[in-house]
Symmetry: C2
Subunit: 415 residues, 2 copies
């Protein structure tokens, strides 16, 4: 089964928002074996939207449209889709009541009048209740093809997809696509592909696809099979070979487990607690760790010691260390890590100090220079990195490299 | 002039990466008055890519393709574009030397052999040097139409666009599109549109377009004009009217200034320093503040007091406060703010404590309940919020609402 994704919104075409919905929907579709060969972003323009819906419908089994169901005048997805499917829009009392109650509960008794537009639904289309907003989803079906219309806000779209769209799609495509994922640290994309070139050249079913992430490579192994047992039998020899080649650089084989979650789980297993001391990453490291569910069992405290005073007062970094070696130095990273472990009373502490850019670099210490320290039970290891991205990228890499170092050091500890 | 954006990569179609390049390119194109009516994402598939390039080229003046210039076998954008433009690929010694030097300088003397593929360029296409990676950009021109091929990694694509693509596009379209932006806090999307409904109904040139952001609404005013003076004359009365309607809720009129930057500037102007104390946001608030250039002049220190012990030890939140009112309470937020200001010795401190979800909610204190405190010169204001998104969204909203509260309180202070 093939589906195309059409994201509607002038704000996407003008670059005012990043189209995260397309990525979310694409990943979900891939996961259930629905092929998606095209994603299209188009504005709130009747003529072009109509053309896009017709064209996409002509070359696929169905569409997922998202966005353009809002209360404002320029939201026209429902109207245009109804036209293509030959449907009339009528007031739906059930939806009207849901909108009224949504406002009453969360925003006060006065419904902004243009919100009533969202209670207009196609005469024969199916209405999909929105449990997180006012715009209902719609399902059109005609001549063996379908189109789902979903609201644009991700916190409305995602639960609606999972509750209503996914079961519908699964019911249409009983043939199975099964996949496993190995997530690898410390190996670049080119290097990873070189390491498995022979396997990829020889592959048929299953296939291996490498994906480069910031500081990680994910290897997806996908098999076509009639059952999950058959798929497992096909995939297992390939997975074994990949495990042999990438060894302990594989941090998880669970697609849904993030790096931070795997580290939280590792620390939990070792009964270790964690603190962080950040300078250039400014809270991104702790923010990422706390993103993981279960972080509260492990993560005690984070210190964002941006100024030298904060490094000295809060982490007891010695003034002479900063004066002699500088705030961005192996020595400062070392004392920050020890200081964070002491201040928070934890077994493990990570420290990051670097020059994220675009300013602050010198010839001796250029932009991108970063020191990451990891203190485990009183012993500190500091690594030096030279990142070559922009400010954002350098900080993102520093976060991943800090988590990578933490994993390496904690694994060493337990041998 | 119309341009279509084609992002190439199976990793986009499978949802393995979010297509931030499309948003970046779209915003840049809009800013220089180039119309982009369609963004397309397509996989590394020869047939479909060829079809997409031909179709997009037939309905626009030019294309920007990004991605698929990498060293791996599945990167075929250059090969397919060369086919469409009737070009042959030949080895470019200049590019080969650049790749060799890039490896030598940043990765060691051994070039992964598949990287040499990146030195193959079209016989008549223009080569655009990549100063941040190994894949050069390419410009094809034929029959009055053009196609730029840019590398997928954003830190390579962006500088290349700004240095080489933008000047080229500007030289093609001397007619002018000029725009201004007002960024508004504390007003929802529906409400904002209601407030300017009459202006939008009556508009011709300039036009006003509202964009909803997390906790913000941006109002873009766009004029078509022969000169920037003419555009200013057209826009000024509209801007005046918007200023009258949104008043101090407008935090900036500079498109490139972010909320965090405007707040850093405000604090700098008031000669005030800032500290943060975060629980559920776990470093996202400080991370966002430190994103702003110039943050180091204002931001002293951040505390991520995730555990109750950290709140008590580091911020001197009283044990009885936590026992009586709970860690997520007005009282705890108050003491966290005071504690952060005291510990860091700053004029201003922000505190956030809440239940981001998905777990941890109770009937009395549901997921989404968040208290944000702001201490200015010893006086604390605490506000209660009920967010209705997922974990990520609730944390993002908490960050914006904290910055909003900070701005309100600091502005009050100075009256």
């Amino acid at each position: 089964m093939t589906v195309e994704i059409i994201c509607v919104g002038t704000e996407i075409l003008l670059g005012n928002i990043v189209n995260t919905n397309a990525a979310y929907l694409a990943e979900k579709l891939a996961g259930i074996g629905v092929s998606c060969y095209r994603q299209i972003a188009i504005g709130d323009n009747e003529e072009r939207l109509e053309d896009a819906i017709k064209t996409s419908l002509s070359r696929s089994d169905g569409l997922i449209l998202c966005g353009g169901l809002g209360p404002t005048k320029d939201d026209i997805t429902k109207e245009v889709a109804a036209k293509v499917f030959g449907e009339k829009l009528i007031l739906n009392e059930h939806t009207k009541d849901r909108i009224r109650c949504y406002f009453l509960t969360l925003r006060g008794p006065d419904v902004t009048p243009n919100n009533w537009k969202q209670a207009m639904v196609p005469e024969h289309g199916k209405v999909i209740d929105n449990h997180n907003g006012t715009a209902p989803g719609i399902l059109f079906e005609k001549d063996g093809k379908f189109a789902f219309l979903l609201p644009g806000p991700p916190n409305e779209l995602k639960p609606m997809f999972e509750r209503d769209v996914e079961p519908y799609l699964r019911s249409l495509s009983p043939e199975g696509l099964y996949s496993s994922m190995l997530k690898v640290l410390s190996v670049g994309e080119s290097r990873a592909e070189s390491m498995i070139e022979d396997l990829i050249a020889a592959q048929r079913n299953p296939t291996i696809a490498p994906y480069a992430k910031t500081g990680e490579v994910h290897l997806r192994v996908t098999a076509k099979a009639k059952s999950s047992e058959e798929a497992s039998a096909l995939m297992e020899p390939v997975l074994e070979e990949l495990r042999a080649r990438f060894g302990s650089n594989i941090y998880t084989e669970d697609e849904n487990v993030t790096l931070e979650e795997s580290i939280i789980a590792l620390l939990k297993e070792k009964k270790m607690t964690l603190a962080t001391a950040e300078s250039c990453t400014g809270g991104l490291l702790s923010g990422r760790i706390i993103n993981a569910s279960g972080a509260s069992d492990v993560f005690a405290e984070g210190f964002i010691t941006y100024s030298n005073e904060a490094k000295m007062n809060t982490l007891q970094v010695r003034q002479e260390t900063i004066e002699k070696y500088g705030a961005v130095s192996e020595e400062t990273a070392r004392e920050m890590a020890i200081g964070a472990a002491n201040a928070a009373g934890t077994d493990v502490a990570l420290s990051v100090t670097g020059i994220a850019g675009p300013n602050g670099g010198t010839e001796e210490k250029p932009v991108g220079l970063t020191y990451i320290g990891c203190c485990v039970a009183g012993t500190v290891v500091v690594k030096e990195f030279h990142f070559s991205g922009d400010r954002r990228k350098n900080r993102d890499y520093a976060v991943v490299k800090a988590l990578t170092l933490l994993r390496e050091e904690v694994l060493k500890e337990s041998v």
